[in-house]
Amino acid sequence: MDNSDIILDSISDGVFTVDSEWHITSFNSAAEDITGIARSDAKGRFCSEVFRSSMCEDGCPLRETLKTGKPVINKTGFIIDADGSRIPISVSTAVLRNSEGEVIGGVETFRDLSEIEALRKELTGSFSIGDIVSHSPAMRNVSDMATAVAGSPSTVLILGETGTGKELLARAIHSMGRGESRPFVAVNCGALPDSLLESELFGYKKGAFTGAASDKPGRFALAGDGTLFLDEIGEISPALQIRLLRVLQEHTYEPLGSTVTETTEARIIAATNRDLAALVKEGKFRLDLYYRINVVSIELPPLRKRKEDIPLLADHFVRKFNFLQKRDIEGFTPESYSIMIAWDWPGNVRELENVIERAFVLSKGRWITPEQLPDEITGADNYLRRGNIPDDTGNMEGAKKTAEKKIIIDALEKSGFNRQKASDLLGIHKTTLFRKIKELDIIIPHGKKDRGV
């Protein structure tokens, strides 16, 4: 290693130099770290094949510098590392000259902006997919998948429990892909009887049945080249499944009472809270239709599996209801937050929204207190409903664990979740209490995790 390599290695930014043929002649250790490419592998190779930047092909700053003789400062783009990750970078360039002043190549310095990007995200604390806000890693996967499929015409199947936001996700995919200007039409297949659903989807002609006084376009026609969202797809009858399969395969259908075949360009997004594969096994859902709609599936996690989102969502709904009801509520007291985090939210985000709307009605002050939350979620037995330990096992071991859990929770509550005080109350060592909390899956409310530790 010569002196120039030692100097280059002392620089925290990535630095490489190229000769006039675009071969890499030096590559410092920061460049090795950022790109994941060893100096020995980089030297002598074309810089574009080592650096792999979004700027290489069209807009290379080094080419511009060598052409104009002027440096380029902090031009931003991304590189793709050997793991396929896009790394945001900023690039600066300069001309390299020999002692006679002749141009012998160029030098490029680059800075990894990932940390700055990560810090920015940490400061904002969340990301959004359309109207869905989250900072849960589980939702990050949903976001990545939704973004990847948004522009695709493929049918998407959204899976998730009731109230997880399936329609919101469908709207987000529609907005990212087909754009706000095209229609988004939603149909709840479970809410309509079969005959009505058929006429809703495909439309009808005047006189098609008693009461059909004029032509009516169906939801497929209304969706045009936008998106048709079919919620509760698992509820449709076998007869309608056949008609729907034909539309998905051939993009054609006939309105009721019509002899003219219509075509549709609508993108289909279906959703269900049912296990479609199980329905197929039971013979209640056609296998061919299942394959047609299950091209890409995205599963929305229930709220109990992303509890870190509860404060974020709660604040979001407070802002929403403040706006809608012209109120000025500040938010929740710490006790209210703790109770809401402890609850398992079987009705998911929709239940949370309803609870907050109810609290707005009951609240006269500026803070939402536990008194304004429903009894079912503030009840003491709330804590016992959590975790994996059944309290109705009917056997000695289960009953013992349930009783143990209740005693520990009582002690924790009495001590204000101070683990030292709680262990004193229980007459056990603090480390035994920690072990029990973990074993019995006892969730310590947010903001009280460090007490007495």
Binding site: E49, V50, R52, I80, D83, G84, S85, S152, V296
Partner: protein, 128 residues
Amino acid sequence: MKNIKTCFSVWQGRIAPVFDVSSNILIQETEEGKVKSEYSLQLPAETVFDRVSFLSENSVDVIVCGAVSRETAMLLNLFKIKCFPFISGSVEEVAAAYYEERLSESRFLMPGCGRRRMCRRRFNFHHK
């Protein structure tokens, strides 16, 4: 034997360094293992999705290209286009190596594509 359409992402006579932003492709169609026709096309400039769906619309079965982000890899998978990523070299040499199943030779791999890296794994996508 099915005719196969293979696409090479091209820039200045070599495999383009980054498929996510590349502009030009060379498509070769083989019949019974022999190249029967070839033509060049320009990829749409807008989004990665536009590029990948363009390949699908042109019935491309296989792509041989340079660096590929995971997002693009996911879309290629979605469109069932088999991908040989992180390849470098002159298009002529790479094409010959591809047909002779020699693309795993180290001289055709981009630097940094050591063992355990995504670029060493050929995306195991389905053929159409």
